[in-house]
Point group: C2
Chain length 413, copies 2
């Protein structure tokens, strides 16, 4: 048996008054024909990263709606996860190929996991490349198999895509986050586009009383009575952390006591992230108004929530972006965002909603100054951004869309 992840319970009713009523009704409506449907979500890890966060919300909600949903994880040794990491990077355009030995390791572990796969399902959701090889080693039986791709595969490494493509071809349908993310020569005709969503009940998004948010940030040296801007992001060149520092310093010339926080996660197996982190540390050394925080010093989900709650403005100065989850997280707290005009961000915050879209460091600096100085405008933009999240980017909407796909697949549409 593949390992089961215990997700506890979550009720659709607990979103009443938070998500739009109409959406919750649609959720009930679309789940009516799926009562008792057996659903498996399969991914590689129970903690860490956006996928496991989503499953922690989706799976108990499906159960509350009358389906029988499970979340299981595939297992593998270190070399398997090295290969899947290479595949993951390659799908996002990385230059390194996977070797024949690595391909063999992927196949072998897929075979082992296929053998451990038991239980009968109506729908099997396979998340990202790690568990995608399983279907080569077992029958679909009565289930519809759906490949849920969470990454930007628009320009994949060709060798790696050629390797993975035949595995994907066995599926019944695929889900992408944005239309742009679909790789060339995609083998399935049934493709759904389902944008990511945030859970207002997760530690990152639950309403945090202001005094607690203040205590958490004061504890790590942030002066919450002085203006603060924050970028929450991986340490990755596409998030342009040095551009953020540059823009912040331009803004500080006009708002002398402005503070900047850069908050990110560091994984131990991500040397690139560490290099960038060290570059940032060197750049800001001795600047008492710039704070750099990571999970490694205990800045976790609740602290991220506090930063987004108390910042005058958040920044998401992406040079390239899929769907900027942190943009939606910030807007959900009514905090406006100064964000790069790229990827899914203009869909998340169209002109005049949620914040200011920018193309350059100078525009970013100007956006920061505008919103830190004009609190009325900042507040109005934050409020419109929150409305937009409420309408389009909360987790019940995502569950509704996935249920609708299941329903159509069941009907043979």
């Amino acid at each position: 048996m593949l390992d089961l992840v215990d997700v506890g319970e979550r009720s659709v009713d607990s979103y009443r008054g938070v998500a739009p009523d109409q959406l919750l009704e649609q959720l009930r409506e679309v789940s009516r024909k799926l009562q008792g449907a057996r659903v498996l979500h399969l991914n590689a890890t129970p903690y860490g990263g956006g996928v496991s966060e989503l499953l922690r919300s989706i799976v108990p909600l499906l159960n509350d709606l009358g389906l029988k949903a499970e979340w299981r994880i595939v297992t593998g040794n270190q070399s398997f996860f090295e290969v899947t990491k290479a595949i993951h990077n390659g799908l996002q355009g990385g230059l390194l190929d996977v070797s024949p030995a690595q391909q063999t390791a992927y196949l072998e572990t897929s075979r082992v996991n296929a053998r451990a796969f038991s239980g009968e399902y109506d729908f099997v959701f396979i998340h990202d490349p790690q568990p995608a090889g399983i279907l080569a080693f077992r029958d679909k039986e009565a289930a519809r198999w759906i490949w849920r791709c969470h990454i930007d595969t628009s320009c994949p490494n060709r060798q790696i895509w050629s390797f993975l493509r035949p595995f994907i071809a066995r599926f019944d349908a695929a889900i992408f986050t944005l239309p742009d993310f679909i790789p060339p020569d995609f083998p399935l005709s049934r493709i759904e586009i389902i944008a990511p969503a945030i859970d207002p009940q997760s530690p990152k998004n639950l309403p945090l009383p202001e005094p607690i948010a203040r205590q958490l940030l004061e504890w790590i040296g942030v002066r919450t009575q002085r203006p603060l801007v924050t970028q929450v992001s991986r340490f990755d060149p596409w998030k342009d952390p040095l551009g953020v520092i540059h823009a912040y310093r331009l803004a500080r010339a006009k708002i002398p006591e402005l503070q900047l926080a850069l908050v990110g996660s560091l994984a131990l197996d991500d040397p690139g992230g560490w290099d960038i982190y060290r570059g940032i540390e060197a750049e800001v050394e001795g600047d008492p108004l710039i704070h750099v925080f990571t999970n490694l010093v205990g800045v976790g989900n609740i602290e991220v929530n506090a930063f987004q709650t108390l910042s005058a403005v958040t920044i998401q100065k992406s040079l390239r972006e899929g769907f900027g989850l942190v943009v939606s997280e910030s807007l959900w707290k009514g905090t406006p965002v100064v964000a790069g005009r790229t990827g899914g961000i203009p869909m998340q915050m169209p002109e005049g909603v949620g914040g200011i879209l920018v193309d350059t460091v100078e525009e970013c600096a100007e956006g920061i100054v505008t919103l830190v100085s004009d609190r009325e405008r900042a507040k109005a933009l934050g409020a419109s951004g929150r409305d937009r999240v409420r309408e389009h980017f909360l987790i019940p909407r995502l569950v509704r869309d996935e249920l609708a796909l299941m329903s159509r697949l069941a009907a043979g549409d």
Copy 2:
């Protein structure tokens, strides 16, 4: 210059109504003669571990009281920190000696840090062994130097203690946590005993509204409507995690839906901790009522706070213990503790206060059943424990004791 840690601001007034009034008055009184006194606290790390948590409270409070306090850290390369780790383990009785090459590395880095040491101080607090070598490479000048030892050095490795002892001999005074911790043949006559304390404003101890505590634990799969017992501790044989599991299973025979959470930190450079963690995982595999959580899956200070807040009882089944900080943390939330009768624990919770002291697995099981079943008694014990923490183990008391020592040293007593 040694790196400065920015600790923000904290005011003594913010403890009014939380710590006893009398204590806050004593704090003002004892600081009166120390106005403007320049204090340096020096340790090895700005984050992680009990010492940095204490300094994050102590240093801003000293400033609020009219002293001029700074917190700085020593730097060193990997081999330096390997030596200081060996010294640390050796002082706690570890069997491995430090090699001549390691001794040289310690001396070399101490020399470098001594050279980087600048600024004038009246009092220098050196925490634990890492920065203790500095004094061999510079004058004391006008300052009183105090070695603050946070660990149990009652039975040190003799070779390591012989190596470190001459460095300690240069200090003016030493502080230990418990009288039992003083090593044999200690070279200083001025020794203070100052018990550790907790900060009611830290993320681990701030009052967490119950709905938030519930959401945080439900999110990670804990059913907060069913009874829960928790042990928060390092994964260390002296904390007897397997004994806790055994006691819990005996208790569950009488309370079938009882849940157990084992919550701990895992450091990457602690192979012993990982071994014990894996042993626990193997022991509890497939048991849906036992949860094992670590910092590595995002269970941080606030989640620890939530566990201590919502548990019916916490367990601290230590076989050997210095001062059990988590015992005070739990009691501060009014949650009674079933704890091993060892080390400082009987001082923290004397017979009839705070919980139940136990010597065996069976007594532990019985204590759990008693307190989970008899909610009135549990509540009364929790309340008496909270009163005891309030009186003796909150951070203003610790600051008062350190100020009193400074005051006596300044007076030449």
